[in-house]
């Protein structure tokens, strides 16, 4: 767990959150907390309960059981106060097409109780944040998909909420708009201290701006980690995955698997994506000695006279972590707020 997230006070604390739909449990005793100033990726298969969780955090739907605290406020007891501290952009969001960007922002600010004297400044800030300042007089109905998404985000943050919930915000955006979105979300966290929970199926992009990951499956929380801990082996983690290295050769190496497997520190070898590549899984190294282990392996490869032209540690990314959890049997996984959890 990174020191920064451990030191920060949790903005959101969820305890045994359970939410039922008729005949179906959408969330089953979910517990976690989100530190202030973090961006958490909320991932899981369709129907895992992501949207339901967001709606409960936004105090739109009451939980059947359990407790949600946002900024110290119980979402069941004081939902209106939670609304004021929250911005929520749903997957299926709507805009008033006949209103201009300025009118839409004015309405969002005024309806969220921004003082009248500050509305103009907030509108300008929100429009600048999403790069819509030059389109204030354009009608929402005439904006492209990406620009509509930006306007919706601007309306969501115009009252400067402490917590922002974004359900599939990158859905339907072109690559440039996605890059812009990533920059914006990073900026909301770093420059404005907002705490964000972002659900998306595009895991590679989440990795660009998220600090933590929260994986839901069948309504249960199966993992909640700082992203660095989840993607690589954190030194303090006893159950961290072993290191892996991919090696490329300039020529095909006969009997490569046997020769590589005999090298010191190599636990197993598997074929790479091409005949001149192989992936080696290393034996567990002493904490903090992973780099030394790799250097020794590279030396051994060259000493063996193998035509090495590429050598790189394989980083486990968010997609790998997510896939690992999907492969596990139902209900398996690291308990919420486990060793790598964000307490």
């Amino acid at each position: 767990m990174p020191a920064s997230s451990a030191a920060a006070a949790p903005l959101v604390a969820v305890t045994d959150l359970t939410r039922d739909y008729p005949g179906r449990r959408a969330l089953d005793r979910v517990s976690f907390s989100l530190a202030a100033g973090t961006v958490t990726a909320l991932v899981g298969p369709n129907g895992a309960g992501k949207t339901t969780l967001m709606r409960c955090l936004a105090a739109l739907d009451p939980p059947f059981a359990g407790r949600v605290l946002v900024d110290g406020l119980d979402a069941a007891e004081r939902p209106r106060d939670v609304h004021q501290r929250t911005g929520f952009l749903q997957d299926f969001f709507g805009l008033y097409d006949t209103l201009t960007v300025a009118q839409g922002l004015w309405y969002a600010a005024a309806a969220r109780a921004v003082p009248e004297s500050e509305i103009a400044a907030r509108m300008a800030w929100a429009a600048a944040a999403v790069d819509l300042s030059d389109r204030m007089n354009q009608r929402a109905g005439t904006l492209s998909r990406g620009l509509r998404q930006r306007l919706a985000i601007a309306q969501t943050i115009v009252h400067r909420p402490r917590m922002v919930l974004l359900d599939e915000p990158a859905s339907g955006l072109d690559p440039e708009s996605r890059m812009h979105l990533a920059r914006l979300l990073t900026d909301l966290r770093t420059a404005h201290g907002m705490t964000l929970l972002v659900s998306s199926h595009i895991l590679a992009e989440l990795e660009d701006y998220c600090t933590h990951v929260l994986i839901l499956r069948d309504g249960r929380l199966v993992r909640h980690d700082a992203l660095a801990d989840a993607a690589s082996a954190a030194p303090e983690r006893a159950d961290r995955p072993p290191g892996r290295v991919t090696v490329s050769f300039s020529d095909a190496v006969p009997d490569a698997a046997r020769r590589l497997g005999a090298l010191p520190g190599v636990a197993s070898v598997e074929a790479g994506p091409a005949p001149d590549r192989a992936i080696m899984t290393l034996t567990p190294a002493t904490a903090g000695r992973e780099a030394d282990q790799r250097a020794a392996l590279l030396r051994a490869l060259i000493d063996q006279g193998l035509p090495v032209c590429g050598f790189a540690p394989l980083q486990r990314n968010l997609t790998d972590v997510y896939r690992d959890h999907l492969r596990q049997p139902n209900g398996a996984g690291t308990p919420a707020d486990g060793p790598g959890g964000v307490a």
Binding site: D20, G23, R25, F64, A65, H83, Y96, A111, R112
Partner: protein, 447 residues
Amino acid sequence: MMLPFPLANPEFRRNLWVEFSAQRLATMPALLGLLLLGGHAAMGVEGVAGLATTALFVLLVLWGTRMAAGAIGDEIQAGTWDAQRMSALRPWTMTWGKLLGATAYSWYGAAFCVVALLATGRTGAAEILNMLLTGLTAQGAAFFAGLLLVRGAPRGTVRTNIALAQAVAIVLAIWLATRDWYWSSQTVRWWGLDLDGRAFMLSTQVLALAWVLAGVHAVMREELRYPSQPWTWLAFLAFAAAYTAGFSDALSVALWFEAMVAVPVVPLVVAFATAATLTLVAALAGPQSSVALRRWLAAPTRARGRPVALLLEAPAWSLGLAVTVALSVALTAVWLRVPSPDWLPVLVWSAVLFLIRDLGIVLALTLDGDMRRGPAGALIVLLTLYLLVPIALADVLPGIGAAVRPTWGATVSGTLVPALGQALVAWAVVGWRWRSVHAGAARTTPG
């Protein structure tokens, strides 16, 4: 700079932005002007007055109710309602901002019609005020019914529910118009008082509008996640029971019952019937979620520890049932002083059991079910029990009418016992539905 009062309401202002454009501002007076000029050319001043009155009805009642009924449903379909629910707008601000904002264009047109009516001098100010009040009340009723029917309903049913809400509002407008026509030319006897018909009608209009707005406010509170409270519904039940009981006439009831009825009991009979009817309507109108019911029933448990929620979060039908039972007790107590007719308590308590049966039927067919087909199916079953069965089987089973619906001359074996049996069967079906909808969810105590 401070905004003037109505425009300070963001919801009202947003609606004005949506509803008005330069083109629409010009179109309405142009069309109405041409219409009224045509009327003048054809029938002179009388034609103008007639057409202005018709246009006023069309704008406020036919068109205005559509806009009011869709004030929430359209937001749900557009995906903007949840954002509004999370706004800082208070229930009353949201209520009048939407009601007057969504219908603003119809009122814009109505203003031209009123000017034309005043200019013709054929329609008095009181009559115009009455028309405007009817229009506003109908729009309020459409807004209320629309809000009630679309919340929690699947998106696919929104259009149907908006149409239904508009139909309810138009029926109310027609009822108010016929009452006005009937009462304004005579005195009205209410709770033994002879009242001026026109003044009574105006009071009725104002009260109807006030209750419609109170209803919208109460439902809006729930939508905006303010704590639940049953007081508006309970107050309305008391008002409706007292209002209708004021018209009770011992002679009419005696003729209807074909028996002498103790005079003090008569208002209670009417109040009882009103409360029971409203209870059934409430059950048919509201979404019946087993999850919400479980959470409500768990209120007094140790896990939830909020016994007061048993009252505060009670479904409207359960409170209505409690009021109906309380009225039955009062009615029985009053009847004991002058026990005539002797079968009256059997009728009243069998009616309570039939109401319990009917609530069971509604719950069994609507619990977590299709918001459109469930209530419609329940309504068909109820109509079958109350109308079709007694008529169709009267020749074969002469006592069938008394066994399936409250009937004067009720007997313990012919009415009360069958009513009890049907109530038990209906609630056994509810129990079976209850178990089946929760088969997929694990047991967790609500908190």
